[in-house]
C-alpha cells in the first residue's frame, strides 16, 4: 500500500478577486520506502504539494492520505499531533533555532513526548550520531557550517522516527560538496533506515539520487 496517496488534489488561492490554481488535479502515489524527487520550474507548485503531504497545509479539494490517515479528517490539533509522529520536515534554510544548541534543536520535537530529560538527551545524541555530528552537540547554529546545520536539521527531522521525510530543496543553499554529503545522508536514511522520502529539488544531480523523478508544471504532474 502507498504510504502517500494523493487523489484529485486541487489547491486554489484567491488573490483579490483573482483565482490562482496552483495545483490542478494531482494524483500521486508513493510506495513505502520510496525516494521521490519532485522537480519543476519555479512557481509550479512543488512546495505547495510538499506542504500538503507534510500536513502543514490543506487542499482546496481532493484527498490526501499519508501513513494510512486521511488528513482532511483531522482537526488542527490532531493534525499537529499527527505531524509530530509521522513526518519529518527538512527546510532549504535549515531553520534551526539560533538560541538553542545543536542537541537542544534536535530535542525540540521530543519535548512533545512524555520521556525523561536523560532519555530525551540520549535520543537526540543518537540522532546526531546518525548524521555524524555527535561531537558538535553543544555548538550553536552560528558555530556550524551550512552543511552541518542541515545535518542537524535532518537529525531533528528523524529524532521522532517518522515514516515519511519531506525535504524542500535541502541542498538549495549549499556548495557542491556539502550538497553531496547531504544527499548521501538522505540515501542512507532511505536505504538503511527505510524512510520514505519526498524531496523537492532544482538540481538534476540531486534528483539522480532518487529512485523516481516526478515533474510538476503549472500545477500538473507531467511525468
Amino acid at each position: 500500500m502507498a504510504i502517500v496517496d494523493i487523489e484529485g488534489v486541487r489547491k486554489v488561492y484567491h488573490r483579490d478577486s483573482q483565482e490562482i490554481t496552483v495545483l490542478d488535479g494531482i494524483n500521486l502515489r508513493v510506495p513505502e520506502g520510496e525516494f521521490v524527487a519532485l522537480m519543476g520550474p519555479s512557481g509550479s507548485g512543488k512546495t505547495t504539494l510538499l506542504n500538503l503531504i507534510a500536513g502543514i497545509d490543506r487542499p482546496t479539494s481532493g484527498r490526501v492520505m499519508v501513513a494510512g490517515t486521511d488528513l482532511s479528517l483531522l482537526s488542527e490539533g490532531a493534525l499537529a499531533s499527527w505531524r509530530s509522529h509521522n513526518v519529518g520536515f527538512i527546510f532549504q534554510f535549515y531553520n534551526l533555532i539560533p538560541v538553542l544548541t545543536a542537541v537542544e534543536n534536535v530535542e525540540l520535537p521530543l519535548l512533545l513526548v512524555r520521556m525523561s530529560k536523560a532519555q530525551r538527551r540520549e535520543r537526540a545524541l543518537t540522532a546526531l550520531r546518525v548524521v555524524g555530528l555527535a561531537d558538535r552537540a553543544l555548538h550553536y547554529p552560528r558555530q556550524l557550517s551550512g552543511g552541518q546545520e542541515q545535518r542537524v536539521a535532518i537529525a531533528r527531522a528523524i529524532v521522532t522516527d517518522p515514516k515519511v521525510l519531506v525535504a524542500d530543496e535541502p541542498t538549495g543553499d549549499l556548495d557542491a560538496r556539502s550538497a553531496q554529503e547531504i544527499l548521501e545522508l538522505m540515501e542512507t536514511l532511505n536505504k538503511q533506515f527505510r524512510k520514505t522520502i519526498v524531496m523537492v529539488t532544482h538540481d538534476p544531480r540531486a534528483a539522480e539520487r532518487a529512485h523516481v523523478q516526478r515533474h510538476l508544471d503549472k500545477g500538473v504532474l507531467t511525468a
Binding site: N51, A54, I56, D57, E76, G77, A80, S81, W82, R83, S84, H85, F89, F91, F93, N95, I97, P98, V99, L100, E104, L108, P109, L111, L112, K117, R156
Partner: protein, 392 residues
C-alpha cells in the same frame, strides 16, 4: 518546566532589549510599590482615630491658637464629658532640622485620660505629673535614642511663638507602650510634655493649638460639634470642630491629593510600560516568524506556542517585578532621608515594604507582562505555517 530553558535562552539572546524592558518595567513597579507605601503610611493614621473624641481648632487654620478661656465653656456643653489640650510643638534637636524628627505635643492631664491607648505604668505617670519638665516618650523612642527614665534631652521648636531663644529641656519620666490589641494603629513614636511648661516658657503667650473634646455618645458628634462652634461664633477666634478621624483626614488630605496625583502619574507610566513591553514582545515575535513556523511544523500545538510566548512575556514582567521589589524596599527604607518627602512620611510608624504591597506590585508586573504578550501570542496562535514560512 521543560520549556523553561527555551524561554530563558530567548530572553538572553537579545539581552539589551530584554534588559531595557526589565528596567522600564521595574521603574514602573517601583513607583507603584513606593507610592502605595506612602499612601498606606498616610492613611494609617486614620484607622486609629477615636469615634468619641472631637478636635477643635481655629476656624482659619491650625497655625492660629485658641484662647485658654474656651476650655470651661466647652466643658459646659451637654454631652461633653472631658476637655483636653494638645499643642503641636514641632520641636527637634535643632530648630527646623528634621533629620531625626519625632512628633511631640504639649498636653494637659485630661488629654492622657482620654487616650487609654498610650499605656503608662501608674508610678511613672505619677512621676511625670510631679515634674514640670517631665515628659512621656514612646517605647520605640526610648529604644532608638537610648533615653531611659531620668535622662534629659533638649528640643527647640521651629514655630515662632514657641521660640524663646533657648531650648526646652525635658526629663524622661514615663515610657508608654501602644495598646495594639484594643487600639490597632496607635502611633508608637510620640513624645508628650506638660502644656504648663510650654505656657511658662513662652511667658504665657502660648494659646491652645487644639482642644480634644470627649463626648458620651459618638452618634452626637455632629450635633455637639455644631453646638461648641456656635459658642464662639461671635468671638475673635472662631472655631472649627470635627471628629478626630475627620481632623486627621483633613490633615493628610494634602498628602492625599498628592497621592492622587502620583497615582495618576503612576497609571500613565504603567500604560507606557505596557506599550514598551508589548513592543518588545511583538518585535521578538516578528523576528521569530520562521521559528514559530518551525515549532508548529514539528507538531507544537498552537496553544502551546501561544503559551510559550505568554510565558516569556510574563517572565519579562516577573524579572522586572523582582528587580522593582528590591529597589523599593531599599528606597522605602531610605525614604525618611529624602528632603521634603522625608518630612511627610517621618513620624509614620512601621514604614517599610508591606508584603501585600510587594505581592500586588509583583502581580501587577506579571499581569503587565502577560497583557503585553497577549496580542503577539494570539497572532502567533492564529498564524498559518505556510504564511509564516512564505513571508519570512
Amino acid at each position: 518546566m521543560r520549556y523553561l530553558p527555551y524561554i530563558l535562552k530567548h530572553l538572553r539572546r537579545n539581552w539589551m532589549r530584554t534588559g531595557s524592558t526589565i528596567v522600564a518595567m521595574s521603574i514602573c513597579i517601583f513607583l507603584f510599590c513606593t507610592l502605595q507605601t506612602l499612601i498606606r503610611a498616610v492613611t494609617f493614621n486614620l484607622k486609629s482615630a477615636n469615634a468619641n473624641i472631637l478636635v477643635m481648632r481655629h476656624a482659619v487654620s491650625l497655625v492660629f491658637n485658641l484662647p485658654i478661656a474656651y476650655k470651661e465653656r466647652i466643658a459646659s456643653v451637654p454631652g461633653v464629658t472631658r476637655v483636653g489640650i494638645a499643642n503641636w510643638f514641632g520641636g527637634s534637636r535643632r530648630p527646623g532640622e528634621f533629620r531625626d524628627f519625632f512628633p511631640n505635643f504639649a498636653i494637659d492631664d485630661a488629654f492622657l485620660e482620654m487616650y487609654p491607648e498610650y499605656i503608662i505604668p501608674p508610678d511613672q505617670e505619677q512621676a511625670y505629673r510631679q515634674d514640670r519638665r517631665g515628659c512621656i516618650i514612646a517605647r520605640k523612642l526610648s529604644v532608638e535614642r537610648g533615653w531611659n527614665i531620668g535622662d534629659t534631652f533638649q528640643l527647640e521648636s521651629f514655630i515662632p511663638p514657641y521660640r524663646v531663644g533657648r531650648p526646652f529641656e525635658f526629663v524622661v519620666r514615663a515610657i508608654y507602650d501602644a495598646d495594639e490589641k484594643r487600639h490597632p494603629g496607635t502611633v508608637d513614636n510620640l513624645m508628650f510634655f506638660h502644656y504648663e511648661y510650654l505656657y511658662e516658657m513662652t511667658n504665657q503667650r502660648a494659646g491652645i493649638g487644639t482642644y480634644r473634646i470627649q463626648i458620651a455618645d459618638p452618634a452626637q458628634a455632629g450635633a455637639i460639634s455644631k453646638a461648641v462652634d456656635a459658642l464662639f461664633e461671635n468671638s475673635d477666634a472662631q472655631t472649627h470642630t470635627e471628629t478626630e478621624a475627620a481632623f486627621r483626614a483633613g490633615f493628610v488630605s494634602l498628602a492625599g491629593n498628592l497621592a492622587y496625583l502620583l497615582n495618576a502619574i503612576g497609571l500613565a507610566v504603567t500604560f507606557t510600560i505596557l506599550l514598551v513591553t508589548a513592543n518588545t514582545m511583538s518585535m521578538a515575535v516578528r523576528e521569530r516568524r520562521t521559528e514559530i513556523a518551525v515549532l508548529k511544523t514539528l507538531g507544537f500545538p498552537s496553544g502551546l506556542v501561544m503559551g510559550l510566548i505568554l510565558t516569556e512575556s510574563a517572565a519579562l514582567g516577573a524579572l522586572g517585578g523582582a528587580l522593582a521589589l528590591g529597589l523599593s524596599s531599599l528606597a522605602i527604607g531610605n525614604l525618611t532621608k529624602l528632603p521634603f518627602i522625608g518630612d511627610a512620611v517621618r513620624g509614620f510608624p512601621d514604614l517599610g515594604l508591606h508584603p501585600l504591597v510587594a505581592l500586588l506590585g509583583f502581580g501587577l508586573a506579571v499581569a503587565l507582562g502577560v497583557l503585553a504578550g497577549l496580542i503577539p501570542a494570539f497572532l502567533a496562535f492564529r498564524a498559518r505555517i505556510t504564511d509564516l514560512l512564505r513571508s519570512a
